[in-house]
């Protein structure tokens, strides 16, 4: 089952003291530890940390023609800053990983299950995924 850990954090230059170069290095190291742990656990799918809003373009055809604009420049203090996609059996395991995400010390993580994912050229629903050999569908305590 795929879960997205959706990370929201203050935009650079938002209120509060700006992080120093050293702060960046320290956070990079923590993020790297997290990525290595996800990889060694075999649950890693993808991870993108996003550039700030100022480097964002939006594309829409809502009005009938293609409109490409800078932004969005939402007034919100926090913005989408990154997405980590992991493949774990259930929400409890997803939350165990989300708790370890280093960025939670300065932002928030939203944990959301995938409804359907486009994998290897085809749409995959959570139920379609092959279960691991020996995996028992019900838990020993019956829950």
């Amino acid at each position: 089952m795929r879960y997205s850990l959706i990370f929201h954090a203050p935009e650079p230059g938002a209120d509060g003291p700006a992080p120093t170069e050293e702060d960046f290095q320290e956070m990079m190291r923590l993020m790297d530890d997290f990525g290595q742990a996800l990889t060694s656990a075999g649950v890693f799918v993808a991870w993108e940390m996003l550039a700030p809003h100022s480097e964002t373009k939006t594309v829409t055809r809502r009005t009938g023609e293609v409109v490409i604009e800078d932004g969005p420049f939402a007034a919100a203090k926090e913005a989408l800053a990154g997405i980590v996609v992991i493949d774990v059996p259930d929400i409890e395991a997803a939350l165990a990983w989300a708790e370890k995400f280093p960025g939670t010390s300065y932002g928030t993580i939203e944990v959301r299950p995938a409804a359907t994912s486009f994998v290897d050229g085809t749409w995959t629903r959570p139920g379609d995924e092959p279960t691991r050999p020996g995996d028992c569908p019900s838990r020993p305590d019956g829950s």
Binding site: G16, D33, Q36, A93, W97
Partner: protein
């Protein structure tokens, strides 16, 4: 760290023990920890130049205290001049009174560190900020050092510290002359904060276990046991932290593998820390009051003795766990008790206890240690398939790479 040959530098290093005492004494007057820290920084800055030029004074702490106090007085005077608050002169007298500047022996100065610790653990301070405040105020650590120890961004630590110190100053939590009873009622919060700083589960899933704040927590626990020697729980806390820290080097094998307690080699435990833990535990009994920390320390010591001698006193451990469940019930404690029960009465009984817990607490299904124990008990009962399922579940909930590797051995 190399021994410094520069006498001024040596004196500075030796004076560090006194920093918390100086901050406590100055901040006790008006509850302004940030102000007291600034005063100490000023004194330290001046010391660097003065001690280099003229050699270190006979009593570096006394020197620092006098200069810091003067710096603080200047601030109070100018504040008094601006606001014409009469209180400030009183404040100055309060901490000036009775100390003769001629011999500033820090041991002769009143020790306000327990009051300072209590202020750091004040109910109006956010619990996560409490240990940060203790490290900063009582141990003189900078935001950068604390951030490194706690694996937090420096900006986060600075912001939390500033907010907490403002809070204390704003509350008017002057802790110079507290009611003794009031102080005693605050001790549990002080103990909890120190233990929390020690037992903090690292926010990140690091490849290597971090030392974190073990050294600092050891120091704070010794300090609090020294400041309230008649309190059983202060020794219980010190015993627990020393015994846990003693085993730290044995948690990973030479090649970085996870080693559970029962497989650890006692000769890799730190003998000095173990002895200190045992000494504090003896004090718990002498104080006649055994609380949560004292019980947990006793449990750890019994486990360690069992591993060392090859024979564990399980019935005694069960009694201690029963007492602990009375004093401080917790999910972790209940799961440990089920493990002990399995040793005393057999794996079926342990499993039944675990099932009963699962019925009571929905959180158990996300609690990794419960699945590790379930897997262990099912294996002992020969229920191999169910054991593998439980172990897989434990593995799903484990993020630490070394522990994952340990759990996945033998799973396909």
């Amino acid at each position: 760290m190399t021994e410094s040959a520069d006498p001024a530098e040596r004196a500075m290093i030796l004076s560090q023990d006194g920093w918390g005492r100086i901050i406590a004494l100055i901040a006790a007057a008006d509850g302004d920890i940030a102000g007291a820290e600034d005063a100490l920084s000023t004194a330290l800055e001046r010391a660097v130049t003065a001690w280099r030029a003229h050699g270190p004074p006979a009593n570096p702490e006394g020197w620092l205290y006098r200069v810091a106090l003067n710096a603080r007085r200047d601030v109070w005077r100018s504040a008094a001049a601006r606001t014409s608050t009469p209180l400030d002169e009183e404040t100055i007298d309060r901490i000036d009174g009775g100390t003769d500047p001629a011999h500033h022996d820090p041991d002769a100065l009143p020790d306000r560190r327990l009051e300072l610790l209590a202020a750091c653990a004040h109910p109006d301070i956010d619990p996560p900020a409490r240990p940060l405040l203790m490290l900063s105020a009582v141990m003189g650590m900078t935001a950068k050092q604390i951030a490194a120890a706690m694996a937090l961004p420096v900006a986060t630590v600075s912001a939390r510290l500033t907010r907490a110190k403002k809070r204390i100053a704003g509350l008017g939590v002057a802790f110079g002359s507290p009611d003794r009873l009031d102080l005693e009622s605050r001790l549990p919060d002080v103990f909890e904060t120190i233990y929390g700083a020690f037992a903090i589960e690292w926010a990140q899933a690091a490849a290597q276990p971090r030392e974190g704040m073990i050294g600092e927590a050891l120091y704070l626990s010794r300090l609090v046991a020294e400041l309230c020697p008649g309190d059983g729980e202060s020794h219980g806390l010190a015993a627990l932290i020393h015994l846990s820290a003693a085993r730290f080097p044995a948690r990973r094998s030479g090649d970085g593998r996870f080693v559970p307690l029962t497989d650890q080699y006692p000769d890799r435990w730190d003998g000095t820390l173990t002895e200190a833990g045992e000494r504090h535990l003896a004090w718990v009994h002498r104080c006649g009051h055994v609380g949560r920390f004292g019980l947990e320390a006793a449990i750890q010591l019994l486990h360690m003795a069992g591993i060392r001698t090859g024979s564990t006193d399980w019935p005694m451990l069960l009694r201690l766990h029963d007492d602990l469940a009375q004093v401080a019930p917790s999910l972790g404690g209940s799961v440990s008790r089920a493990a002990i029960l399995a040793e005393v009465e057999g794996p079926e009984t342990g499993l039944a206890a675990l099932d009963a817990l699962a019925a009571d607490s929905p959180r158990l299904s996300a609690f990794q240690p419960a699945w590790v124990l379930r897997a262990h008990l099912l294996t002992r009962l020969g229920r191999t398939d169910e054991a593998a399922t439980a172990r897989r579940r434990a593995l799903d909930l484990t993020t630490d790479p070394a522990e994952r590797e340990y759990l996945s051995v033998g799973l396909t």
